[in-house]
Amino acid sequence: MKKTVFLGALTVAGLAAGAAAAGTLDDVKARGKLNCGVSTGLVGFAAADANGEWDGFDVAVCRAVAAAVLGDPKAVEFVPTTGKTRFTALASGEVDMLARNTTWTFSRDVDLKFTFVGVNYYDGQGFMVPKELGVSSAKELDGSTVCIQTGTTTELNLADFFRANNISYEPVPIETNAEAQQQYLAGACDVYTTDASGLAATRATFETPGDHVVLPEIISKEPLGPLVRHGDDEWGDVVRWTLNALVTAEELGITSANVKEMASAAGNNPEINRLLGTEGNLGEMLGLSADWSVNAIATNGNYGEIFEKNIGENTPIGLSRGLNAQWTNGGLIYSPPFR
């Protein structure tokens, strides 16, 4: 194995990179790297393997943006953030975007001064209980002990739900999913509550997943999506339309397998042509190259492919599309037109 000993292959780690008055897009281009805030580890959404390569549903969004802007899905630095540090990291310019299953709420959008560019996963808070408890509805949980993952909107939703139904519970707040899982499995809490996707992901790794059920109640709306800083609309547009490109690609049947071929020459469908840059100059308008969306789609495929590869039904996590199906299939995934 020949090791590369070529020097000078990295851009200088700028101490004062944020000092440049240029926008984030220019910063990213100058740096040659996208700094993307992700979770410190969540099965199916973001995790590093033994070689330090990150993978997951949220990670795929980062890679697509890097591919669109820099033409290179590998040009991403992943910055692990916790529920507490994520907003500061974004606000201070430590990361260019945050793709860390973050719920789009009014106060985060308005008060904390962030811009949510879209929704890549429609989630909702649910409950998981062991089958042997014989519980079939969350309203039967009076007096139960509930494990909550903190640092999110989860604890507020939970308090609201139990208050509205006038039933009591005992909250057990826990920092990480791994620890919550441990407590739940040992019976230290009766119920585990977090986003339904997280519940499914957790349940999938149990020794006997069949012994646990996810209750039908979904007590909150959790639209999860990538976000950027307020006020940098140029950069917000780039991230927004990269996400939309992935969604539109699925709708139009563009996959990682056929994208190169379709982009090689203009076809009959004008929207495909516009999206893939064989017609019009959408890329230029964004300040990107003409093949920006081709690069983004070629990385991990379209939205559907990313879903199937990381969290879909054929993965251990086994989430069905549900709300996250294309709007044409009765879901909520819908992209504005490329026109």
Binding site: G83, K84, F87, T88, A91, S107, R108, D111, L112, K113, E132, L133, L141, D142, G143, S144, T145, T150, G151, T152, E155, L156, L158, A159, D160, F162, R163, Y169, E170, P171, V172, P173, I174, E175, E179, Q182, Q183, A186, G187, A188, C189, D190
Partner: protein, 463 residues
């Protein structure tokens, strides 16, 4: 002829500020002060500028907003509609609780282990060495996580107690349940406490033995839950409902404390009297039954008069044990881990303190005919105490500060409430973290003040 002239009048020159040692120290201090003020001003102006750009004007108004989250362990009333400030206060009380419990157990354990490490028993001494090295050389955060994991994995879940053939049984005559959610023990209740959630008596209190009830501090006549407190008649007259007032003081507990204190005082008087008699006549009257009696009998009468009874934890239906008091496993894990960890350090301090006492003291005490255990408790330890106390103080401080790792096990202390969920929900990093630091600083300074005062009082008075 000698003429006396005045010494030449010194005129002040600017260079004296640097070269003249009389002025130089002043110069240095002024420069330092100016530098410090400039640094502060610089930090402050940066902060203001940054916050303005972020659009977050610093303000503590969020403290009076409803918190919206629940806290499992609360020493005073709290629900999710109370303010962030009150949530922070609940957290503060929890911090103080675990720090207090931890300091006591760490001291007891540390002294035992420190003494045992010097034991002549080879096996025990080695075992204690292993204990000390194991705990001192592994981060406390890992220990906290470890202890929590052991509690969770090795103890039975409450549902193991249910059913026809439960796989776990309660301990101590079926009154204590040790589960992986914590320990449920019987709770002492008084006549008036026998009410359900809505404040109705479960059983009619037996005659006049109703106990004293609770006193709400800052009760508001307009608050509906205080209605019964201000009512002059009815079954609940004079009894505050839950959530009435800022907090409620249990008058029953106050009465018990008063009677106990009185009992101890009388008992002490009896002891001094016995001492006098011993000094005068050389014979010591037997007083133990008297001393015990003056404490126990009034207390027993009080308990009877207040209609005391015990509620036992039981799990027949539902998810959790009902009745009794619940000590949560997050508290136990944190308490245990902090005590075990700090005990290893205290053990070393105690060992060093004992070894600092010259061997002649032991020999002299032995020559007086004291037995080894009495030598330790009457001669060695009191002297060692003077060496032990100053480092002990800093270990108490460390324990208190380490209790901020509570978030690792989900114990809702001040870090978990104010600097945890409140910070997350309001996005007020500056205000919450600064407030949190201020609170810890106050706690630390108070502990060192109290302990330094104690240290001064036991210090050798040199003549």
């Amino acid at each position: 002829m000698v003429t006396l002239s005045d010494p030449p009048r010194e005129s002040f020159r600017l260079s004296q500020l640097i070269y003249d040692t009389r002025y130089r120290s002043m110069t240095i201090q002024v420069v330092a002060l100016i530098g410090f003020l400039i640094l502060l001003g610089w930090l402050f102006s940066n902060t203001m500028q940054n916050l303005t750009e972020l659009g977050k004007e610093p303000s503590f108004r969020f403290l009076s907003d409803p918190a919206g989250y629940d806290i499992n362990q609360r020493l005073i009333d709290y629900n999710n509609q109370d303010t962030h400030l009150r949530a922070a206060f609940i957290g503060l009380l929890n911090t103080l609780l675990v720090a207090f419990l931890g300091c006591i157990t760490a001291t007891v354990l540390g002294v035992i282990i420190g003494v045992l490490r010097l034991s002549k028993n080879w096996l025990v001494a080695r075992l204690m060495t292993i204990y000390v090295e194991m705990f001192r050389n592994v981060p406390v955060l890992l220990w906290i996580v470890f202890v929590m994991a052991i509690l969770i994995e090795s103890l039975p879940a409450p549902r193991a107690f249910k059913g026809e053939n439960p796989s776990a049984t309660m301990k101590v005559f079926d009154t204590v349940a040790v589960t992986n959610r914590g320990i449920y023990v019987p709770e002492v209740q008084f006549g008036r406490d026998a009410k359900d959630d809505k404040g109705e008596y479960l059983d009619e209190p037996t005659g006049w033995r109703t106990g004293l009830g609770d006193f709400p501090v800052g009760a508001d006549p307009d608050n509906p839950s205080c209605e019964s407190y201000f009512a002059s008649e009815g079954p609940m007259a004079g009894e505050p409902g839950p959530g009435c007032g800022r907090f409620q003081i249990s008058l029953d507990l106050m009465a018990i404390i008063l009677v106990l204190m009185a009992g101890f005082y009388v008992s002490h008087r009896i002891k001094t009297r016995a001492d006098h008699i011993q000094e005068a006549t050389g014979e010591r009257p037997t007083t133990w039954y008297l001393r015990l009696g003056v404490i126990v009998i009034p207390l027993a009468i009080l308990f009877w008069a207040m209609g005391t009874y015990l509620t036992y934890p039981s799990i027949e239906r539902g998810f959790n044990f009902q009745g009794g008091t619940h000590m949560r496993n997050s508290l136990i894990a944190l308490w245990l881990a902090l005590s075990l960890y700090t005990a290893a350090f205290i053990a070393e301090i105690v060992r060093a303190g004992i070894m600092a006492i010259s061997h002649g003291q032991t020999e002299a005490a032995a020559a007086l005919g004291l037995r080894p255990k009495r030598i330790m408790s009457l001669v060695i330890l009191p002297q060692a105490l003077r060496v032990i106390i100053p480092p002990l103080i800093s270990n108490y401080l460390n324990l208190t500060k380490n209790s901020s790792l509570a978030i690792a096990v989900g114990y809702m202390d001040i870090t978990g409430t104010l600097m945890g969920i409140t910070l997350n929900q309001t996005g007020r990093e500056l205000e919450t973290v600064l407030l949190g630091m201020l609170i810890y600083l106050t706690i630390s300074l108070s502990i060192s003040a109290v302990m330094n005062w104690y240290n001064n009082s036991v210090k050798l008075v040199e003549r």
